[in-house]
């Protein structure tokens, strides 16, 4: 294996790795200033992002291309590699990098007294590296190992404020459920290996297309069990119900910037893993498989998986929304909302058509900005001394109109109000579901009804922020202040980094919301390639 040919396409990853090493080096040199280390992370992700965007074929950056156009979306004939560059993978790489970029940009404004900048940014970059590798995986084991890179990094990220018991508890919970899921994933992979004799996703796809009798044809139960284990294992990352319970506690307990990364980044990786793993059986395994040892009917594998995923999707949306309804804490409410959003995204792979995948991808793109931005904003607001409860946000909209409007915009986008990116993505996603016809229309209806339900709690936050007066500050004894003065917010805003990140979020939410053609066009063509890829 020629090193240069191996390293060339991985330039973005290498840039990140270099960033990590630089950060660790500076740590050793006792240069631990947040701004310095953070800038390195921002720069690294920024550069990597440029490379990825260039690889996607965005002409202004053509100079930065690291991949010849021919090696994107290649066709295989025998000899399946462990990794392959797909347009959709590149799109996801860009999304992941954007998420990391946003988080590290915002984290530039971390409070000075907070320690652990090197480990924070180092792990952030490593986690991102794992995500980038997930995006190019072509092999199940490669995929799972890459996921583990991110998983371990995120366990540690969640617990990196090691003197915060909430944070450590979150890390512990995430670790246990994560390790369990990993085990289940590998177990599933082993079963699939037993059935197919390979763990390569494209090989499995080819077996399905060629209908050689291996895999689903010969070992229907093994295949079904294998995919079942994999679905459950990956559902951990994607926070599907009922595998979501950890997420709420972890999103709540983790440092909020890390939460933003979890919600905006690593969870999306789980969803993309779903795309990678399940697209082949859903679309290409035409082998008629006996449904189970207990029934004699012969059914196709694809619809069976689709129905299962549809149930999971509906369950995820609904439970997430219902639980968010009564939630009193802002972060937990956002966490539940994030869970329900995962349900929408799952619709994409459930439907399995290129439009649906495009819709889901756009939804994921939107979610990075909406939810990531929201958590970043929550982190900034809590730095002002605003408590964790939604009610603590009373009157914020009128006292800090800019922050209030930005947050309102994110919430409206999550609720799917037009002229926001959240609307466009849901519109495309549900359109695609309707376009696929059949029972997917019901999926679209369930999704839309759920998004209606979600309006309840988003609107509640808006109400608290804009229509209610701030509660009187618990006054220090002896101070004489008239009546019901709201708590005094610190002068200044979020700090430049965070303000820039939130500003970027707002711009994207509105810009893509108003004119989505550019993003949507790229995503659509990538999804189309992805569906046809290697076939």
């Amino acid at each position: 294996m020629d090193l240069t040919s191996f390293a060339g396409p991985f330039l973005p990853e290498i840039v990140l790795l270099a960033g990590v090493l630089l950060v660790y080096l500076l740590d050793v040199l006792k240069l631990r200033s947040n701004e310095l280390v953070g800038s390195i992370a921002v720069a690294a992700t920024g550069f990597a992002l440029l490379f990825v965007v260039a690889d996607l074929g965005f002409t202004p950056f053509a100079l930065l291309r690291t991949l010849p156009a021919s090696s994107v979306d290649p066709t295989f004939s025998g000899g399946y590699p462990l990794y392959a560059f797909t347009s959709l993978g590149l799109v996801f790489q860009a999304i992941f990098l954007l998420a990391t970029c946003l988080v590290s940009l915002a984290s530039l404004s971390r409070p000075r007294e907070e320690r652990g900048a090197p480990i924070f940014y180092g792990l952030l970059l490593l986690a991102t590296l794992g995500m980038l590798l997930v995006a190019v995986a072509a092999d199940l084991i490669f995929l799972l190992l890459a996921i583990e890179v991110t998983s371990l990094a995120t366990y540690l990220l969640v617990g990196y404020t090691r003197r915060d018991s909430r944070s450590l508890e979150a890390a512990m919970k995430m670790y246990i459920i994560g390790a369990l899921s990993t085990t289940l994933s590998f177990f599933g992979a082993s079963l699939l290996y037993g059935a197919y004799g390979t763990t390569n996703l494209y090989a499995i796809r080819a077996i399905g297309i060629l209908n050689t009798g291996a895999g689903a044809g010969s070992y229907p139960v093994l295949v079904l069990l294998g995919y079942g284990f994999l679905i459950v294992g990956l559902a951990f990352k994607a926070t599907l119900v009922p595998f979501h319970a950890w997420a709420v506690d972890v999103y709540d307990g983790a440092p909020t910037d890390v939460t933003a990364f979890l919600a905006g980044g690593s969870k999306k990786m789980g969803l993309f893993a779903f795309f990678l793993v399940l697209l082949a059986p859903i679309l290409f395994v035409r082998t008629v498989a006996s449904g189970s040892p207990f029934t004699t009917t012969q059914v196709a594998l694809g619809p069976v998986l689709q129905i299962t995923l549809a149930v999971l999707a509906v369950l995820t949306m609904t439970v997430g929304n219902v639980l968010a309804l009564l939630q009193k804490e802002m972060k937990r409410m956002l966490a539940y909302s994030s869970i329900s959003q995962a349900g929408y995204m799952l619709i994409g792979i459930t439907v399995g058509t290129a439009p649906a995948l495009a819709g889901a991808t756009l939804q994921i793109f939107a979610h990075v900005f909406m939810k990531g931005g929201a958590f970043l904003l929550v982190a900034g607001v809590s730095a002002w001394g605003i408590g964790p409860l939604i009610d603590d946000w009373k009157g914020l909209g009128t006292r800090r109109p800019l922050a209030g409007v930005a947050f309102a915009l994110m919430l409206l986008s999550m609720a799917g109000v037009p002229l926001t990116v959240g609307f466009v993505s849901k519109f495309v996603l549900f359109s695609a579901a309707v376009q696929a016809q059949g029972y997917f229309v019901w999926l679209a209806i369930a999704g839309l009804l759920n998004s209606a339900l979600s309006v309840f709690y988003y609107a509640r936050v808006l109400r608290v922020m804009f229509f209610e007066q701030a509660a009187p500050n618990p006054l220090p004894a002896g101070t004489v202040v008239g009546g019901s003065e709201p708590p005094i917010l610190p002068a200044g805003g979020f700090g430049y980094g965070r303000a820039a990140a939130i500003g970027l979020v707002v711009i994207v939410i509105v810009a893509v919301g108003v004119y989505p053609q550019m993003v949507l066009g790229a995503v659509q063509s990538a999804a189309q390639h992805f569906v046809n890829f290697g076939a």
């Binding site: 037009p418 209606a452 004119y515």
Partner: protein
């Protein structure tokens, strides 16, 4: 030709932004924008090319059409397409008039005036957009765009239970929009329409089989119906109206309810003829239910605004009935009724608002005999009530007459229901006037004085239109007739 529609949208958008930013001078900016809006609508009228006999527009029957690519995917063609025909033009006129009247009426708004007037203009923009949009996504976008300002208008400037009302309004209408959206999407994808454009949907949806058409129609009907509002999905309306500030109520009753009816005509009745035909019994049933329910409930209300709100349900029920008749006369009646109800309910809500400002309560039972103290206000209330109960020479009369005539033509003796309800309608208005305006004075605060000039002016604008179109309904009818509705010549 000038892209007049886009210019108007841009004007309103820019006006809204300017109003938001203009602080204390917001009302002047808003007034300027409203006047500009009216002038642009006047220009639209002048350049309207859909008059009978003309067929040169981009989409047949639509004048001033514009279309630009927006989202073009292999399977989804969304354009920015706008255009007007007679029906939308009539409602656009209503929008412009109500916008101006609301701005004038709310002249003294002191609670964050910039935001208030901005939101009023934004509502106007949304409604204008709905009436001109010829693309499903664009339509839905404007449709939803109306929700947000109204949510804030109710939620921030409203009465004591404003938060509840705002939330209820938002959730109800949002759920409805969603069902409507699914319906519209399904129409596109099931019919194999090449784009989201009205023309394309119109051309292909009619070819769908009757059964899917029926399902789609019912979905759309639910979506539009909640805005109507149809019984039993109406309970958001009284709450929203009662809690909304006067300007909000005016726009809510005058414009928002019309969106549902307009949507039903444009996006359901026209493009799903067989579905419409099959669903007619349902529509009739709901229409009669709404008519009866609205007026019977009006009888039992003590709150002036609530009374007017329920009477809106009744009136919109007649609109629905007229639409459901599936006849040209019915359609004309429906649009006339919409226009009339927009003006008249606006007037009535303004009156109720003034009653509230002047006497501190809207409870009909606790205030009475106000006429000697506030003759101008009483006159307005009387004008509004009499117009609303369908008195000749006022705007509702030709509309109701046409509607009832059309009902007779279509349904024969069923017309007894709306006819009988006319008596009940008269009863609750008369009863309200008897208690509020006449009789011995009671419950009038010492400081109460007649309405200020701007409230009078706001209502005066509406009264002027009430009388103008009451005497010359032909102006509107000629406009409506020029629309490419089925059964019309040249369609």
């Amino acid at each position: 030709m000038l892209p007049l529609l886009s210019i108007t949208i841009a004007t309103l958008l820019a006006g809204t932004v300017a109003t938001f930013l203009s602080g204390a001078r917001a009302r002047w900016v808003a007034l300027g924008v409203s006047v500009l809006f009216i002038l642009e609508v006047a220009l639209l009228f002048l350049s309207f090319s859909g008059w009978p006999g003309y067929n040169g527009a981009l989409v047949p029957g639509f004048s001033e059409s514009e279309s630009y690519a927006w989202i073009h995917l292999s399977w989804m063609q969304v354009n920015y397409s706008v255009g007007v025909d007679g029906i939308s033009l009539a409602l656009i006129l209503l929008t412009a008039v109500l916008n101006l009247a609301t701005v004038v009426y709310s002249w003294a708004e002191s609670k964050r005036p910039a935001a208030y007037f901005g939101l009023v203009l934004l509502t106007g923009l949304g409604c204008f957009g709905v009436f001109v949009a010829l693309d499903i996504l664009l339509f839905f976008l404007f449709w939803e765009a109306v929700l947000v300002p109204m949510f804030f208008l109710i939620g921030y400037w409203g009465g004591p239970r404003r938060r509840y009302a705002a939330l209820k309004f938002f959730v109800y209408t949002h759920v409805a929009s969603i069902v409507m959206l699914v319906g519209l999407l399904a129409i596109v994808f099931y019919s194999g329409a090449t784009s989201f454009d009205f023309s394309s949907v119109y051309a292909s949806a009619r070819n769908l089989a009757a059964v899917p058409q029926t399902f789609l129609f019912l979905a759309l009907f639910f979506g539009f119906g909640v805005k109507f509002p149809i019984v039993p999905f109406h309970t958001w309306l009284p709450d929203a109206h009662v809690e909304a500030p006067t300007g909000g109520s005016v726009l809510l009753a005058g414009l928002l309810l019309k969106l549902g009816a307009y949507g039903l005509i444009r996006w359901a009745v026209e493009i799903l003829p067989s579905g419409f035909h099959n669903a007619q019994p349902v529509l009739f049933f709901i229409a009669f239910l709404s008519i009866i329910w609205g007026s019977v409930l009006s009888l039992s209300q003590r709150d002036l605004k609530r009374l007017v709100a329920y009477s809106s349900i009744n009136h919109m029920g007649i609109v629905l009935l007229a639409i459901a008749l599936d006849s040209s006369l019915g359609l004309i009646a429906a649009v006339l009724l919409m226009f009339a109800h927009g003006i008249v309910s606006g007037l009535l809500f303004m009156s109720s608002g003034s009653v509230h400002h002047t006497f501190g309560t809207r409870d009909i039972a606790s205030v009475g005999g106000i006429t000697p103290r506030t003759p101008a206000l009483s006159t307005m209330i009387m004008a509004g009530s009499l117009a609303s109960l369908g008195l000749p020479a006022l705007i509702s009369f030709p509309a109701e007459f046409t509607a009832l005539l059309a009902t007779w033509n279509g349904l024969q003796y069923w017309v007894f229901i709306p006819l009988g309800i006319l008596v009940v309608t008269a009863a609750f208005y008369l009863w309200m006037m008897q208690r509020l305006l006449f009789g011995p004075a009671k419950g009038i605060p010492a400081a109460a004085h007649d309405i200020p000039w701007y409230e009078g002016a706001g209502m005066g604008i509406l009264v002027a239109f009430t009388v103008l179109f009451g005497i010359l309904p032909g102006l509107l009818v000629n406009l409506i007739v020029s629309s490419p509705i089925k059964g019309w010549p040249g369609t």
